[in-house]
């Protein structure tokens, strides 16, 4: 298989996933107002801030 253009390291993905699930848990238990989607978007934006520029 060829290498695809975008790769994210597994640790980062795990980290994001745990944060997402934690947020979901809190939202469910505390019945907070439904900002969950924004919250998750923020989590990902905060964790993924760097990109490698394509080399030709």
């Amino acid at each position: 298989m060829e290498k695809s253009g975008v790769s994210i390291d597994p640790e980062t993905l795990n980290h994001i996933r745990e944060k997402v699930l934690q947020t979901e848990q809190e939202q469910l238990h505390f019945k907070r107002p439904p900002t969950i989607i924004n919250d998750i978007e923020e989590i990902i934006k905060n964790e993924i801030t760097e990109v490698e520029f394509d080399e030709d």
Binding site: V6, L13, I16, R17, V20, I40, K45, V51, F53
Partner: protein
């Protein structure tokens, strides 16, 4: 959570009553019986109310206040309704109190106006009681509301769980017990977040990228659409099959065709069984091919190699001396290379044992001799492969012939049924009309199944296209940081979602498997007839009747289904406890110790089934509370319950007269199983 004392004040028919659910002994069941309407369901609701503030009353849902006490109030005066629950969780004692103050507005106000609700939670620390903040959160940790339906339930819920077309309930229950709801929600939310990043990509990226993302979104939309349509069709199939089940019942009740219908049912059952057998045979065939099918093709090589090795032996190049390791193996197995038994003390044993020496022999010798050692087995498998396969093929043919015959007979019966076009006033239709509809439904189901297959194929194609488009998006050469970031973030959302999806499915199946095993065991323990219970991969509860060589799914076995449903709930309690007591990796699926409180589980079953349910009950959880209607509290139920109950209560309902309002008192009848 272990329930202890429940105290009710002015709650519906209970003015000032107490009930203790904790036996603390081997007999872990508390039984509460009373006549219909005496307040059993109210007790169940009281527990829900104190825990969550929810109560689901059928009649006068807003009327919590005891009528007798209410009637004593003048307008403007107030009364407190309270339920207090003592419970233990994580080895800590808690006291939960929920109080609502009502004010009577006027003479004909019997509901009262809610003034205030207070919930207080205290926990025992040494000898003192401490106040606990955020009571609902703490209670939620001990017994989550989403599980309350699972552990505090009534006969109607059992009916639902055990219903033929209610696989969704079982799946939901499993999702709930594992906290899978969080996974489910996060999947949905991540999808929306992914969408946002996709939109960003479209807005910021090149035209080509925009097109690709559009294509991706279109394909996703199509796939979702297909899923929806498949689901709809499945639902329709369920409905049509239920309709046919109904039609069958109706036909049974029409005198002219009752016997024909019964005969047909019988034949259809037989046909089902034969089809299962046919399916099993196919499995056998495949197994044979899988494990031995290669032999006919490899036999030449095997034979040639054997000859070569034999030649080497003749030339003395392979001493047929056995290496020590091989000697040990043979002596331990007590069988020689050729299959001759080697009994200790016999000549052959001594002969082989004598080969143990201090000399090293080369690897090739050993390999060669091991090879020869396997030849016998290979030979056997090769010849048996064809005989076995031929046997299966013959059986399959004869089964198919039988099935074809049955098809004809069944068609004949159907035609005969359809010949009766006399109107039946009770069923409001003629057999012909019913039969025509039945055939129509069968045909329609066939069409729907074919549609679903086509849709699945279509879905696969679209999925493949989607994979390609995704790859193109990833490979697209973009330069602006915003675009690259958006793309990376979109991918992150997608990958995490896929990961959660897999975990979710894995967990669901894990629980299903576990639960299935437990249900199966409980069932086997009862063993009235040859029934087996199973929760399938699709979360359907199936009861199968064991026939000679196979088993057939049985539809009409209500008693068995109810028992299986109870066993299923018991299995979930078990799973939750296991989870709780183990070191679970994740914070989210902690499990817990849950009690089971069931309201009238005996339903309209016959005595034999009731007896069996009684036997199953103590096994379901560490703490079980059973509410029983007096009418069910006779014969086998009373006998069985007597044996297992650690405490028995009676609800005494006093319907009151002109001057007094109805009230119920709770009377302790027996304790610790004594009379």
């Amino acid at each position: 959570m272990i329930l202890k004392d429940l105290h009710l004040t002015n709650f519906r028919p209970f003015v000032d009553e107490n009930i203790n659910f904790h036996t603390g002994g081997e007999q872990n069941v508390v039984v509460v019986h009373g006549q219909n309407g005496s307040g059993k369901t109210t007790l169940l609701n009281a527990i829900k109310w104190v825990l969550y503030g929810d109560a689901n009353f059928d009649t006068h849902p807003d009327r919590l206040v005891n009528q007798g006490e209410m009637s004593k109030l003048n307008p403007g005066e107030r009364i407190t309704v309270a339920v207090e629950l003592d419970y233990t969780h994580d080895n800590v004692d808690y006291n939960l109190l929920r109080k609502t103050v009502f004010e009577r507005a006027h003479e004909s106000d019997f509901d009262g106006q809610q003034v205030d609700t207070i919930v207080t939670l205290k926990k025992k620390n040494g000898d003192a009681w401490e106040q606990v903040g955020n009571p609902s959160h703490v209670v939620e940790q001990a017994l989550p509301e989403r599980l309350s339906n699972l552990f505090l339930f009534d006969g109607e819920y059992i009916n639902k769980l055990s219903g033929v077309d209610h696989s969704g309930e079982i799946q939901t229950a499993i999702q709930n017990i594992m906290g899978l709801e969080i996974l489910e929600r996060s999947k949905d939310h991540l999808k929306k977040v992914q969408s946002r990043f996709e939109d960003e990509l479209k807005a910021e990226g090149s035209r080509e990228l925009e097109e690709l993302v559009n294509k991706k979104q279109d394909l996703n939309g199509s796939i979702e659409d297909i899923d929806r349509r498949i689901k709809e069709k499945r639902n329709t199939i369920d409905t049509l099959q239920a309709e046919n089940s109904n039609i069958d019942s109706k036909l049974e009740k029409i005198e002219e065709v009752a016997e024909l219908q019964e005969d047909r049912q019988e034949l259809e059952k037989q046909r089902g069984s034969l089809k299962n057998q046919r399916s099993d045979l196919k499995g056998e065939l495949q197994s044979n091919i899988s494990t031995q099918g290669y032999l006919p093709f490899a036999m030449d090589a095997i034979e040639e190699t054997a000859k070569e090795i034999d030649r080497l032996r003749e030339q003395g190049k392979i001493p047929s001396e056995l290496g020590n390791e091989l000697v040990e193996d043979l002596l331990t197995d007590e069988e020689c290379i050729c299959g001759r038994p080697l009994k200790e003390g016999s000549d052959s044993y001594r002969a082989v044992a004598s080969y143990k020496s201090d000399m090293e022999t080369s690897g090739i010798d050993q390999a060669a001799i091991r090879y020869i050692a396997h030849l016998g087995n290979i030979q056997e498998k090769h010849s048996s492969f064809f005989t076995d396969v031929e046997e299966i093929v013959a059986k399959r043919k004869s089964l198919q012939d039988e099935i074809d015959d049955l098809d004809e007979e069944i068609d004949e019966l159907s035609t005969q049924i359809a010949d009766h076009d006399e109107y039946d006033p009770e069923q409001d239709e003629s057999p012909k009309e019913l039969e025509d509809k039945r055939q129509e439904n069968i045909q329609r189901v066939g069409e729907l199944k074919a549609d679903i297959e086509n849709l699945n194929e279509s879905k696969e194609e679209k999925q493949e296209s989607l994979n390609e488009v995704n790859k193109e998006i990833e490979d697209a050469k973009e330069e602006r940081k915003e675009v690259l970031l958006a793309r990376k973030r979109m991918k992150a959302a997608e990958e995490i979602r896929a990961d959660i999806e897999t975990s979710y499915e894995d967990l669901q199946q894990k629980v299903r498997t576990w639960s299935n095993k437990r249900v199966g065991n409980t069932f086997d323990g009862i063993a009235t007839k040859d029934y087996k219970a199973e929760i399938t991969d699709d979360f359907e509860l199936k009861i199968r009747e064991q026939m000679d060589n196979s088993s057939v799914t049985v539809d009409k076995s209500r008693g068995e289904r109810q028992i299986a449903s109870l066993a299923f709930i018991g299995s979930l309690v078990d799973i939750a406890r296991q989870r709780y007591e183990s070191d679970s990796e994740s914070d989210y699926f902690k499990g817990g110790i849950y009690p089971i409180i069931m309201d009238s589980p005996f339903g309209s079953l016959d005595n034999e089934h009731r007896r069996e349910i009684s036997r199953v009950i103590p096994e379901l959880a560490d703490q079980v509370v059973v509410f029983v209607t007096d009418s069910q509290w006779t014969g086998p139920v009373a006998e069985e319950m007597d044996e297992i109950s650690g405490r028995q209560y009676r609800l005494n309902y006093d319907s009151g007269d002109q001057s007094t309002h109805p009230r119920t008192t709770i009377e302790l009848e027996t304790s610790q199983g004594g009379t």
